[in-house]
């Protein structure tokens, strides 16, 4: 996964989308056509979402009778009940939440400390440290997961939630977001606290962090997204159903032969996996888009 670092000079948050600009004069394609095209693409984009909701509300009999139908003949929540009662999804849900909490907490502490140090300290070896962040960004995960697995095994963390979460607790993308934000905070503010005799840790925790609200929000969202949607690494580390996260559990359940026809159940599972992120996205869209625009990474 590759991400690009924000520009060194622009301390302000990345300009994402400042709303419509005044329409330029001169000939343009007609607005009606434009809207029609956008609506078509939007409908195509949304189709999978509509279909997953409708399918998850259908009973098994209903699905057997008409596998390709678009709407349930009668609405039932039975699939969701079965998911949690008999398919282990309550365990997967708890595991996903635990992993996400560890990852988010780690990023708030470890990544913001690193980003702050890179922005606010001049020190020997700074280029080296920055190079490490760049390397962490650019080395593809496919290139390292075998030795990562061996390391995890030597740490005794195979098949544990900690083993799943640890590689993500200081994401380079979080470091870049924090570094960019920290550069915008005036040095005078920190200097004043130093003159008052405050220690560096205190300045970081009591002066910088309270000012860094918006950046911390972006870091929280981006690291939650990374933890929640991560698939290949939990797939490698989790070996028993008791440590499966939701995506791994969903993939495993759908591969189980008896679930091939029972797709109402699987679509209900898909909704449980998708919903938390989509709800967050609807309410906190700005942070998602900023995070992606700042880095080009999902």
């Amino acid at each position: 996964m590759t991400v690009t670092a924000p520009t060194e000079t622009s301390a302000a948050p990345v300009v994402v989308d400042q709303g419509p600009r005044p329409a330029p004069r001169g000939p343009r394609p007609p607005q009606v056509l434009l809207h029609a095209a956008l609506v078509v693409v939007a409908v195509l984009t949304l189709l999978p979402f509509v279909w997953v909701v409708s399918g998850s509300l259908r009973s098994l009999d209903d699905i057997r009778a008409a596998p390709g139908a678009w709407l349930p003949s009668e609405v039932t929540l039975d699939n969701f009940v079965r998911l949690f009662a008999t398919q282990g999804f309550s365990t997967y849900l708890v595991n996903s939440v635990v992993v996400a909490v560890i990852v988010v907490a780690g990023n708030i502490v470890a990544a913001s400390a690193a980003g702050y140090a890179l922005a606010k300290f001049d020190f020997a070896g700074k280029r080296l440290a920055f190079g490490a962040v760049m390397a962490a960004l650019m080395v593809p995960y496919t290139a390292t997961f075998v030795p990562q697995f061996v390391v995890t095994m030597n740490l005794g963390l195979v098949d544990t939630l900690a083993g799943i979460a640890l590689p993500s607790i200081a994401l380079p993308i979080s470091i870049f977001i924090m570094r960019q934000y920290a550069s915008a905070i005036p040095d005078e503010l920190l200097e004043a606290a130093r003159i008052d005799g405050a220690g560096e840790l205190r300045i970081f925790a009591r002066i910088f962090l309270p000012l860094a609200g918006p950046a911390l929000a972006t870091v929280t969202i981006m690291s939650f997204l990374a933890a929640w949607n991560n698939f290949i690494w939990p797939l490698v580390v989790a070996q028993s159903t008791s440590t499966y996260t939701l995506p791994v559990g969903l993939a495993a359940t759908s591969q189980a032969a008896n679930n091939v026809t029972d797709y109402g159940l699987m679509l209900a599972g898909a909704i449980v996996v998708m919903l938390p992120v989509l709800v967050l996205f609807l309410f906190l869209q700005r942070y998602f888009v900023q995070g992606v625009a700042a880095t080009g990474l999902r």
């Binding site: 520009t7 060194e8 990345v14 994402v16 989308d17 600009r21 329409a23 330029p24 001169g26 434009l34 956008l38 939007a42 984009t45 999978p48 979402f49 279909w51 390709g68 678009w70 470890a110 690193a114 890179l118 300290f121 001049d122 020190f123 700074k126 440290a129 760049m134 390397a135 650019m138 593809p140 496919t142 290139a143 390292t144 997961f145 075998v146 030795p147 990562q148 095994m153 640890l166 200081a170 949607n229 698939f231 290949i232 995506p247 993939a251 699987m266 679509l267 599972g269 898909a270 996996v273 998708m274 996205f281 609807l282 998602f288 992606v292 625009a293 880095t295 080009g296 990474l297 999902r298």
Partner: protein, 312 residues
């Protein structure tokens, strides 16, 4: 837009401090302390594994050897030689090339077209459209792949629509010729929102008066798009193409979840090959294959840095 930092140089030149050099040393120490948690994670999960992957790739390490390291033998470049004589690996290189050569342009074109449309005076529904187009980017891939699997089933919804239109739909994911387009389509669906957001940011930076002047000179919409917007957007176009190329070079989730590389290996990417060899316990071979990906990604990243470096 150049959202890229190209150098590891210190970011801000700060005025010399009055403090003595012991103070500077102390501050260096504190800075490294702040960086310690990140550096630990970096060492354990990036630096050491990268070096180890290179080491593994030169051995015949197998899953069963992990508890018995002395059985491992050094094979030099043997794994690499084997890979490039393996029909399966060569085929997967070809598949990966298809992912890049078809997926990147499709994703970019769709993202670019939507960004242009949203920027061309759409007012009221602009936010709604942007939300809809960006939603796939944040949606969990396992869940979406599941939906696609059922939708493209022989009895699935897509074929139901086809049947209503009067023709029999194929078994999309079971046909070696049709599986790849469906897998690529999922990749495009998932990524065009990222491209769109980056292009929107780039379009915001195109100065309005250039457009106005060209319009006054009688340049039509297409001419302005081709001669003004596109050249000014070059940095963004480059950035997006590199990001997407790096993504498709490592494509794993889509083929793994939809087809597991099948049918007949027609959708197996190099990343999936790596995972399958890992599953067979062939850690040395798997590491060699993953190093081939690393080299390809590194080459693309270096090109990116060269091209995007600000003119000094």
């Amino acid at each position: 837009m150049t959202a890229t930092s190209t150098s590891g140089r210190p970011l801000s030149v700060q005025p010399p401090r009055r403090s003595r050099s012991s103070g500077a040393r102390r501050r260096s120490l504190i800075a490294w302390l702040f960086l310690t948690p990140f550096l630990l994670v970096f060492l354990v999960y990036t630096a050491i594994p990268t070096v180890a992957a290179l080491g593994f790739s030169l051995t015949d390490l197998r899953g069963t050897d992990l508890r018995n390291p002395f059985a491992v033998e050094f094979v030099g470049l043997g794994n690499y030689a084997w890979l490039f004589s393996d029909d399966r690996f060569v085929r997967d290189l070809g598949n990966t090339a298809i992912f890049v050569l078809v997926g990147v342009p499709l994703t970019m074109l769709l993202g670019f077209a939507l960004a242009l449309a949203l920027n061309a005076g759409i007012r009221r529904l602009r936010g709604v459209f942007r939300t809809i187009f960006f939603a796939p980017v944040v949606t969990n891939i396992v869940a979406v792949a599941l939906i696609w699997q059922y939708a493209f089933n022989t009895n699935g919804t897509v074929n139901e629509v086809a049947a209503n239109l009067g023709f029999a739909g194929p078994n999309w994911l079971g046909d070696p010729n049709l599986a790849m387009p469906v897998v690529i389509l999922l990749g495009v669906w998932r990524n065009f929102g990222t491209a769109m957001v980056l292009f929107l940011a780039g379009l915001q930076a195109v100065p309005e008066d250039v457009h106005e002047a060209a319009a006054l000179d009688g340049a039509g919409w297409w001419r302005r798009l081709w001669h003004i917007t596109t050249p000014l957007l070059m940095p963004t176009i480059l950035l997006v193409s590199v990001l997407l190329t790096v993504f498709y070079l490592q494509v794993f989730d889509e083929p793994y979840l939809l087809t597991d590389g099948g049918p007949l290996g027609s959708t197996e990417s190099v990343a999936l090959y790596t995972y399958h060899q890992f599953g067979f316990g062939q850690f040395g071979l798997s590491s060699a294959a993953s190093f081939v990906i690393l080299v390809m990604v590194a080459v693309v990243s270096i090109i990116q840095f060269r091209l995007l470096r600000p003119r000094a």
